[in-house]
Amino acid sequence: MRARALIRITFLGAFIAWLVLIFSDVTILFSDIRGLHPDIPVWLPRFVFDLYVLCLFYYYKFKIEKEESLNFTDLLWRVFATGLVATVVSLGLRLILFLLGDTALATNILFTDVVYHINLALFLSFLMAAFTSWKRLILYQKSKWLIRVWTVFEFTLLFALLYDSINSGANGTLSTIIAVLLGGLGLVLTANMKWVAYLNFKQKWTSLLLLLLAFFYLGYFFYTTTRLADFIGIQSTSFLDFREHTFSLSIFGFVMVYSLFSFLVILFNLPTSSVFEQKLEEVVNFQRISQSIQTEQSEESVYNILLESSVSSVFADAAWLEIKSASEEDRLFTYGISEPEARAIQEHVFNNKIKGVLDQGVDKTKNLSKHLGTLKGARFRSLLSFPIVVKGEAIGTLAILKELPEGFNKEMTRVVSTFANQAGISIENFRLLEEAFQNERYKEELKIAKTVQKSLLPENLESNDDFDIAAFSQSADEVGGDYYDTIRINDHKVALIIADVSGKGTTAAFHMSQMKGIFHSLAQQELDPHEFMVRANQALVFCLERGSFISAIYFVVDSKSREITYCRAGHCPVLYYTCATDKSAYLQDKGAALGMVKNKTYCNMIDVYQLKYEKGDVMVLYTDGITEANDSKGEEFGYENLEKTILEVKNKDAKEIQEHLISRLYEYSGTDDINDDFTTMIVRFK
């Protein structure tokens, strides 16, 4: 909005300045012819001329220089359009003059002065438009140095403009110095033609045409204004003659020279423009391949983009891409060639035992083309082939075909090999991305497994007036293989279990859930521990895979007879603290782990033990993760430490003993990062 207002204000300013210019100049001229002293100061026309030029400068600055959306041809088009309007108006005037013929008005010097000023204004307006546009072209890809040169140039022009208005007549020494300076700066600036390289072939033609027309306008206006100025000059010198202005001449010269240079540079660039376009397309194609990994849904899209890009970059006619994979059969992607045709060429090349097809180091064009010639009915006469490498392993071949014989040069070979490399990287990235997604999904699933497994461990443990129980379990991985549980068999019997599945991780977690099922179904049947173990073994023998087993201890606590009956199946021995004697001991007894022995002999390998409990006794159940917890030196926590730790808090209740043990354990290992599952269950009798 603000820019628009400024454009209008500057336009209005230029128009008013111009009106004042005509009026004052005509008045002075009239006075001079009549030999009168003019009522207005003689410097007024020169002064308003400056104003007019400055207003034009800012008008075009806002209109052209600040307009971001203009591209190079648009800029030239603006200049052309301004010139066209100016020329049409000027030609219109000419037509009127022609129609007037040799009437008194037509030969009147004052009328001629008005016509001259209209033409001059149009001329300058066109010059300023061109000047502003050239500025943008010159300052394309600018450097600090270039900006400085341009600023100096602009200020010198301004100085010339002001100097002209003070000192009429362009013959002074200073005027010459200014003219030379402007000429030098102008030439330096004219050398900046970087924008030409970015025009495509069509744009170059357009630009040439537009520049040619700009020449025509420049020539026409220069001719017209000079003629008019000559005509007036014969009768009087008291008018604003632009030819005496260093500024006007300099800016005309600059616009002219830059137009000429641009014209020539574009003209000579025409034959090579396709090369630049090709390079640009290569860059764009590379970008497309790289971006395709993020946006495309499949590897297939990446392959297709690769084919399309490589074909268009080397002006080939067809291409195929063969992807080898260990699991599936070879996949063939084709572009501009049918699959049977491609297979036929492959077979032909293979049959001819041509070496170097997959070797990047040699120039294959000649060899392969020669061999293609011997293939009947093939339309292709040139073949280029490249391996696509992912992580140092060739996963496929890219082949580019041309109908022309000897159709590939070294440069093209290089380009396609770059494409093949880029494709390798893209495919690798794509696969990595896929892997990352997969891993993320596994992680999510493991999280679910963890929640499920957590729910397998009991939230509330059985307790009664005789004892209370506290338990703690922590897994090294997301899911673990430790299990503990309690179940009430009847009003005076409670079954307890602690179990450890061999190995850890997901497999262990599955087996643990099996153990839970077995415990819950067998314990309900009021089996004695021996029978429980035999049946559990029988069930597990067929469930566990080779090499897996479960160690467990199964207890039945009878609060009526105050007796514990238990069976140990390969599990860590129980630590039992007897309050009456104030002594603790590991219960040494016999028993093989579950799921190891696959026949009936298991019932002989397991024994039942019984002991009576008293008030204040503590029974510590644990898994080997506790005794095998390592400290920073790799020393195990061990049985002695465990016993010592328990004795420290022997008189506390179950929960306190458990918390003390776990905090000790963490203290000992010195890290939160444990490498095995560990579980403990403390039973304290009351």
């Binding site: 450890d500 061999s502 190995g503 850890k504 991780g505 080779r546 090499g547 897996s548 087993f549 160690s551 199946a569 390969g570 599990h571 860590c572 021995p573 016999k590 028993g591 093989a592 782990a593 190891m596 022995v597 696959k598 390998m605 397991i606 080997d624 195990e636 095995d676």
Partner: protein, 116 residues
């Protein structure tokens, strides 16, 4: 990490297990035993004198061969177990299922007796 060295003499295949056997390295142990069985050895000795630690997964490997050995008439004897490793075997109740000896000579004698 574990390293397993095999040495064949008098028709006896001796596997020297050096280092620690945990869940991941137990695969190596499994492969070595399978190789020995595959090559047709009927007498296998396992030298555990340099075995520093064995996890439940490692114990599972020995255990998993018990049935196969019985079927194929292969006898395996282990010797030189350190206290900690031996304790692990006995806790699991494996001591009754496997043949465990103190020294190599005893083991050799036992494996020869067993295979008769």
């Amino acid at each position: 990490m574990v390293q397993i060295k095999r040495l064949q003499e008098d028709g006896i295949d001796t596997l020297a297990v050096i280092g620690e056997i945990d869940a991941s390295s137990s695969i190596e142990l499994d492969l070595s035993i399978a190789k020995s069985v595959g090559e047709g050895f009927k007498k296998i000795l396992v030298d555990c004198s340099s075995l520093e630690y064995i996890s439940s997964a490692g114990l599972g490997v020995f255990m998993s061969y018990i049935e196969e050995f019985k079927d194929k008439g292969i006898s395996m004897v282990m010797f030189g177990l350190n206290e900690k490793v031996a304790n692990n075997f006995s806790i699991l109740g494996l001591a009754d299922l496997l043949h465990i000896c103190g020294t190599k000579e005893e083991a050799k004698q036992l494996v020869n007796e067993l295979s008769i």
